[in-house]
């Protein structure tokens, strides 16, 4: 393990602020997968997600001196990711509605039929899961990702998304229910194999 890998995020930030800007690459390496995953939850395609994620890291770099260490660096970074992705969505005028309406149900049907074509090759629980998450509203997908993979508490998620922890709790519960619904729709007969 290299010297940089042993350092905490805060140590690396102090080094960057002291003038050793090359150290920032270690911070990027540590958080890029998660930031990219969050970005993909919004953008729904890799190219846009990569653009959002890069933008986040540049914004974080510019504002590194303003990072107050009252919260985790990751929480601060996810706040930037959320706001960047939201403005990206606004710019692109993407449809951020959930798939509860009629139009989206049609999308779902298409999705399922596309999926069935590749079923033999991609028969994996994670493929089903990612598809179900993709069908959720971006905010629901982000809350689920932050909670299960971001090692973030409800308070920290609330901080990142500018919500109270109670709101996050309610939204997480609803998002999980919606996810379950989407999974059941997708899996149909495959559920038995999954469990």
């Amino acid at each position: 393990m290299s010297y940089m890998q042993q350092q905490t995020d805060e140590d690396l930030i102090a080094e960057v602020l002291a003038g050793n800007t090359a150290v920032y690459s270690e911070l990027v390496k540590r958080h890029q997968r998660f930031v990219f995953t969050l970005a993909i939850r919004f953008a729904k395609n890799r190219e846009d997600a990569e653009e959002i994620a890069q933008d986040c890291f540049i914004k974080a770099y510019r504002g590194l001196a303003t990072y107050k260490q009252s919260s985790k660096f990751s929480t601060w970074l996810y706040t930037i990711t959320y706001t960047t992705a939201m403005s990206f969505l606004r710019k692109k005028r993407m449809n951020t509605q959930s798939i509860d309406d009629e139009e989206n149900t049609l999308q779902l049907e298409n999705h399922v039929s596309d999926f069935n074509a590749n079923l033999v090759e991609q028969k994996s629980a994670h493929v089903y899961l990612n598809m179900a998450i993709d069908m959720l509203a971006p905010e629901d997908a982000v809350i689920i990702t932050l909670f299960y993979k971001g090692e973030q508490s409800l308070d920290e998620i609330g901080m990142a998304l500018s919500m109270t922890s109670n709101t996050v709790k309610v939204k997480l519960h609803r998002a999980r229910l919606k996810l379950k619904e989407k999974l059941q729709l997708l899996l149909k007969d495959e559920v038995k194999e999954l469990i």
């Binding site: 920032y24 997968r33 995953t37 990569e50 890069q54 890291f57 001196a65 059941q184 559920v191």
Partner: protein
């Protein structure tokens, strides 16, 4: 067949993160090079300065209290215990200075009390 909540929880916990392109870090660092290097906005305060200011205040308070006692007529008798601080503040040339000093002390005390309360309230939230 119904999915159980536990199965969904397990599935979500084992979910894998997406991987950006191989050149992602390099692209970010190339862009970062074009930016102004971030510098800390908070200047580090030398602790010696803080200790010096504290020493000045302590000295001023001690001097004032000492002056107050040396210029008072302290009377004491066993039969009728009486402490008489007949120090005329208004006559003292130091009265204005004393008031200013006490006022500054009060402001500092209130400032730290406020900071203390804010920190404690934030930790409870």
């Amino acid at each position: 067949m119904k999915l159980t909540d536990e199965a969904i929880d397990e599935l979500l916990k084992s979910m894998e993160l997406e991987e950006p392109s191989m050149s992602f870090t390099r692209n970010v660092m190339e862009q970062a090079k074009l930016e102004m290097p971030p510098v800390t906005l908070r200047t580090k305060v030398d602790k010696r300065i803080i200790y010096s200011i504290a020493a000045v205040f302590l000295c001023a308070i001690t001097t004032t209290v000492g002056y107050l006692f040396t210029n008072s007529h302290l009377e004491y008798s066993i039969s009728n215990a009486q402490l008489n601080f007949s120090f005329a503040m208004e006559k003292s040339t130091y009265s204005l200075l004393l008031k200013a000093l006490l006022f500054a002390d009060l402001i500092i005390a209130l400032f730290y009390f406020d900071k203390f309360l804010r920190r404690n309230l934030n930790s409870y939230r």
